[in-house]
């Protein structure tokens, strides 16, 4: 069955590039432009993976992740941060909040592919 990925980023360009890469990897992709919209998507249909920006209006990526991991979902979806915040303190904060992997922008198709393989989705 086709795996699903929710791309959460306030940049239309990043969402477009991510969608293209992920669809080439065989994912069905949906999009949200911030954490609040992502919560609505997850309530409607929980994806297998979430590619998550950090800085967004309304609700940041880290706030969204904390809310998501507070839900009684069992293992829940794999969450991969994808952000310009590329210092160790941000990475540690993300892992502590329950992120499975962390992508530092800029990225390319090989990085996305390697990281999704790392979390067992490829």
């Amino acid at each position: 069955m086709e795996k699903t990925c929710l791309v959460v980023d306030d940049s239309v360009a990043i969402r477009k590039v991510s969608r293209m890469i992920l669809e080439n990897l065989g994912f069905h992709v949906t999009e949200a432009s911030d954490g609040q919209e992502a919560i609505a998507w997850c309530r409607a249909a929980m994806p297998d993976a979430i590619l998550l920006d950090w800085n967004m209006p309304q609700m940041s990526g880290i706030e969204f992740l904390r809310q998501l991991r507070a839900e009684p979902l069992g293992e829940g979806p794999k969450v991969l941060f994808c952000t310009v915040e590329n210092d160790l303190s941000h990475i540690n904060e993300a892992l502590k909040a329950g992120a499975d992997e962390y992508i530092m922008k800029p990225f390319d198709g090989d990085v996305i592919s390697a990281k999704f393989a790392e979390v067992g989705l490829l």
């Binding site: 160790l88 990475i91 892992l95 962390y102 992508i103 530092m104 390697a114 393989a117 790392e118």
Partner: protein, 275 residues
């Protein structure tokens, strides 16, 4: 570039490294040598070849051979050999080896990603427990690659292609736009310049040899010779891991494939090997 220059480049690379260069791919050769031409301050590859022909400068000849070798590598490249190393090879050897040190060789290590991946795997398996001594050696023909490996500095792109984020957090420090392995971790690997076609006998014996994406570039005769020598310096029940599609079944002397794998071989103790 003249056909004579092309022919000379191919002969130099084959004689110094055993690697076969396809003379028909002139554009690929020029492209691969362009950084060397710039670095050495020549206007063109033809100028550089004129100097090589006139002076036979050994440093320049080796620099040319080095520049022609493939440099592709990545942390935990292909993943599976490293999970097999963690889940099967290491436990098997720890059980067999008694108190002797476990010796691991990343042969043709390029810029060090493979050797460091092995060191990270050992570190994770051990989980901080004191255990049998482990020696990891990374070797390459290229001094430039070895310098980079020893420095342990990798670009942001390089640390994102195969390296799990937990290892980045555990072992690396941010260095401007790049990432550097901590000094204590860098010391877990010893670096040596080794030419696989002539110096294998100088490196000692090993329990595990990763020699991946090296053999495929050698001509048949050289590949067989290198394989025989690698088999000869493996300890009994030691493991040789080659690259995907570099199956050595028909050429490996004294090695048997394990777990139905086409890239992991074990030295059979019952077989006598003559290097």
């Amino acid at each position: 570039m003249t056909p004579d220059d092309l022919s000379l480049i191919c002969r130099i690379v084959r004689a110094r490294t055993g690697h076969v260069v396809d003379q028909a791919k002139a554009a690929v050769i020029e492209n691969r040598l362009a950084p060397l031409v710039r670095r050495e301050g020549y206007n063109s590859l033809s100028d550089l070849m004129s100097v090589i022909k006139a002076k036979r400068d050994e440093r320049l000849v080796w620099a040319l051979a080095d520049a022609m070798l493939p440099k592709d590598t990545a942390f935990f490249r292909d993943r599976t050999p490293f999970t097999q190393f963690r889940d099967v090879i290491l436990p098997d050897l720890e059980q067999r080896l008694g108190t002797s040190p476990l010796r691991i060789w990343s042969a043709g290590c390029g810029t060090g990603e493979e050797a460091y991946s092995l060191a990270m795997t050992v570190d994770e398996v051990r989980g901080g427990r004191a255990g049998r001594a482990v020696e990891i050696v990374g070797s390459d023909l290229s001094e430039r690659c070895l310098e980079r490996a020893a420095a342990g500095i990798f670009s942001q792109m390089e640390v994102q292609k195969g390296l799990p984020i937990r290892y980045l957090v555990r072992h690396f420090e941010r260095q401007d736009e790049a990432w550097q392995l901590s000094e204590s971790f860098r010391q877990k690997v010893q670096w040596r310049r080794v030419n696989l076609i002539s110096e294998i006998n100088m490196v000692g014996r090993f329990d595990v040899i990763f020699c991946r994406y090296v053999l495929g570039g050698l001509d048949d005769l050289m590949r067989k010779q290198v394989l025989s020598q690698l088999a000869a310096i493996l300890n009994d029940n030691g493991y040789l891991i080659v690259g995907r599609d570099e199956a050595v079944l028909d050429q490996a002397v004294g090695l048997a494939p394990v777990w139905g794998s086409s890239d992991i071989y074990r030295r059979e103790p019952a077989l006598r090997i003559v290097a």
